[in-house]
Amino acid sequence: MALKEQISASDPLSSTILISEKPVVEELHSKGSAVFKVYPGSSREKTVRITLPETIIGRAGECHFRLDVPSVSRFHARVFARGHEYVIEDLGSTNGTFVNGVQVLRCVLRHSDQIQLGQAKIYFFEERACHRKAV
C-alpha cells in the first residue's frame, strides 16, 4: 500500500510520508527497526518507518521521504543501513545536514537524535524493547 501525504510549504516543518511498496528487507528486521518522527509528542506527530536499505530524503518528488520545504535541497540526504546501524549522509545539500545541531557529512544515528535539514527538523528513534516507552 502506498500512502502519500503532501503538506504545503506554508507548513514548513511538516513532512511527506511515503510508505514503501518495495518488500521490506528481511535483514533489516533482524536488526530492530527505526523510525523518523516529525513533531514527536504533539497531536501533529507523524511517523515514517525506515524500511529500505537506503532512504533518500529531500524536496524532489522521487525521494522516499519527501520534505516539501524550500530550504531543503531536492536530494538532501540519504539514510542507509551499515551493519547494525543507520547512517545519515549529506548529499551535497545547499543548507547542510545537522545532527543535534552539529553540521555533519555523515553520522551514525542514535536513538532520539534530532536531524535538521535546512529548516526542517525530524527525529530518529530506534525501536528496541527498552526504547519503546520513550517512543
Binding site: 533518500i56 529531500g58 536530494f75 540526504a77 540519504r78 546501524e85 547512517v87 549522509e89 549529506d90 548529499l91 551535497g92 545532527v99 543535534n100 545541531g101 552539529v102 553540521q103 555533519v104 557529512l105 555523515r106 553520522c107 551514525v108 542514535r110 536513538h111
Partner: protein
Amino acid sequence: MPQEGSVKDRQTMEVTFWGTRGSISTPGRGTEKYGGNTPCVSVTVGDIQIILDAGTGIRNLGLEVDGESIGKEKISRFHLFLSHTHWDHIQGLPFFQPLYEPHAHLTVYGSRKKGRFLSSILKGQMDVDYFPIGLSELAATLDIQEISSRVIRLGPVMVDWEEQSFHPGGSVRYRLSLNGKKIVYATDVELDRLYEPTISKREREAHLKRYIKFVENADILIADGQYTEEEYPKKAGWGHTSIPVLIDLALQAQVRQLAIFHHDPRRLDAEIDDLWRMGLERIKAKGSHMTLFWAREGMTLAI
C-alpha cells in the same frame, strides 16, 4: 539521482571520530551514543589518509578502509600521528587491518622527547608476551619516525605540532592546515594546571600565549575535556582538563567548533547530554556562537 555525498577532493578535510573515550574502552549500552573506543580520529583529504592516535577505534577504521580501498590501490598509505604512547592511544595498532596487507604503507610520527625510542615503545606492546605477532613480522611497510622538523607536508596538507606541558610523560598537539582551514588535535593535557598558584604569572602568560596562538581560529578544536569542574580537584595531576577551562580557552582563541574529547570512562551518554546542555548555556551566556559538541564515534565532519 543524487550525487555521491563523500567529498573525495583535495579541498576538504573529512574528519571522522573512530574513538572518543579516554583511558580505557567502555563497551555497553550506556556509552553507545558517544562511543566506547579509545582515541582515534581520521582526517582524509582526497587520497591522503591521516590518523590521529591509534586507540581501539583504529580497528574500525582499518576494517572500513580494508573493505573500501585496499587491493583497489586507492588508500594504502597512512600517516599516523601519535599524541603520546599511553595505552589508550596505541592499543588498537596491532588490530589495524592494513598492517597485514603487503601493499599498505604506514608512517608513524611521534615525539622524540621520550627516554626510549618511539619504535622500541611500539615494538614493546607487540612483544610475544603481549601479542602473537611481532612488529617486524607485519606484511605492511612500517616506518616509525620521531618528528624532527617543525612542519610535515603531506600533499596540500601541512601538519605542525607542539609539545604539551601538562601530561604525565608528555604529549603532543597537532595542527592540520589546508587552504586556510585548520584542525587542531590537542588531547591529554591538563590545562587547569595553568591556574595553579605554584605557577608564576609570567609562566602562565607564556603558556597561555603559546596555546592560544596554536589553536586560534581553528575550524575545529578536538580537545581533552575529561572532567567536570566538580570532579577536577580529585583528579588534579592526572593530566586532563576540566570542561569549563577548555570552553573558556576555546572562546578566547575564537575557535569555530569545539569537539570535547577523551570522555571519562565512567561517563554515561545521558550524563554527556546534560554536560552538553550546560556547556551550551555557558557559551550563550558569553555571547558566543561557537559550535560545541562532545565528539561522537561514527561522526564525520567536512572542514
